[in-house]
């Protein structure tokens, strides 16, 4: 690979390595599922599918698209009674969907806002409302 990876014709927020994308994908899946094994498995599945779609060439993977897939599968995780997350990640996980995935995408700081809004199917203003509400919910849960 020789340069920033682009996907969906939208550039990443910064020039980001494949390693960064994969770690961010794992974080999203972890907040969504509350389970590190489920997150690892989900990240693997999503990456593997994208890898096949990209003719098994890591350089051709649509990395932004990974997060779209993860967002679409946000409700596919088995409910677990207790998760191993602590502190802020645990509070993020406690938020209802799609607020949970939306604010996590925002906090990952890896995608442009316009692309996050597109993934979650809202306008930029609605995205701002969601983030404001999620932030308030996090602050209340923290107290």
């Amino acid at each position: 690979m020789s340069g920033p990876i682009e996907g969906d014709s939208i550039c990443p927020l910064n020039s980001v390595s494949a390693y960064d994308y994969i770690q961010a994908l794992y974080r999203l899946c972890l907040v969504q599922s509350g389970s590190d094994t489920a997150a690892e498995s989900a990240a693997h599945d999503i990456l593997s599918e994208a890898h096949k779609t990209a003719d098994r060439d890591l350089a051709n993977i649509n990395f932004n698209g990974l997060f779209r897939t993860a967002f679409q599968r946000r409700d596919s995780y088995a409910k677990i009674s207790e998760n191993k997350l602590t502190d802020w990640p645990r509070l993020l996980h406690s938020l209802p969907e799609p607020q949970r995935s939306t604010v996590t995408l925002f906090y990952l700081e890896i995608l442009p806002l316009a692309f996050i809004a597109e993934i979650v199917g809202s306008s930029i203003e609605q995205l701002a409302d969601t983030i404001r509400e999620a932030r308030s919910a996090l602050a209340r849960a923290r107290q």
Partner: protein
Amino acid sequence: MPSRLFPLIRPVYEDEPELELVSTEARNNAELNAALERQIAFDNEVIDQLRSLALSEAQIEKLEDSLAEDGAQAAPPPIVPPPASVQTAAAIGSAAAAQTVTQPEPEPVASPKDKEKAEPDRKPEEEEEEEPRARPLTIFFAIGVGIIATICLVGYLVWDQMTSFQGVDRITELLDSANGLTGDEFEAVQTNTDSLKDWFLLKNQHFIVPKEFASTRTIACRVFQFHNADVGQVMAKDNRELLYFLFDPADLGVKLKNGKWEVVEGERLVGGVTVVEGTCFVVAFRGKHDDMQTYLAKKVTPANQ
């Protein structure tokens, strides 16, 4: 009152087109700026902990192996962490293997100046503008090739013009037409070339022989038709056997500066061509281009060239 987009302001997002104005307004308002700093501080806490969640080295290796198994024929390049990443502990693979699209992971709170440095990589519009970068190079290359080709073409035309003249093909044909002569075609006229004027007048021709060749001894002459033009042909001899051709240059489309000599090489004969007082005069003998040049250099005085 803060803008509706105020909750989206983060240092890393501040330069995004949707937030530029909102961010500037917030930064210029003391109250909003204080609220923004509190918001950023709050988010930083969350983000710091979120970033601490990372796949371990073993997990990344497992992921790599899995992808390699999926594509056994085309194993993926190792996924290596960025050099300056805060998750160095989770790094895998060789640091020397430059198989990443790396740039250091963005700082959670970047200063505006830092963001300006990263700005070229951040704006989609600018990324889109990068695509045509090859086009000017291609255009310049094409123009360069075009200019060079034009110069070469013009140079060739100039060179061709300088080393040739109009009607050279006819002269070559004329020289080659003499290859099959037996001598029977000629009428014996043993005199000198200067006296041939009278003989040509009898044949109703008004050919002029250059004065340098006036004293050459002639052997035989004839007038024949060549491409509907009357051509006088003279067998002569000085220190070698010569063949003269005389005709009206306009009849055979020959254009040559008066008094200028050109050398034309035929199949067997080589000819020196000039135009004198409306007559095209060709002196020919068996030989090559250099032989004729040497011959003319001796025969024709520089003043006549």
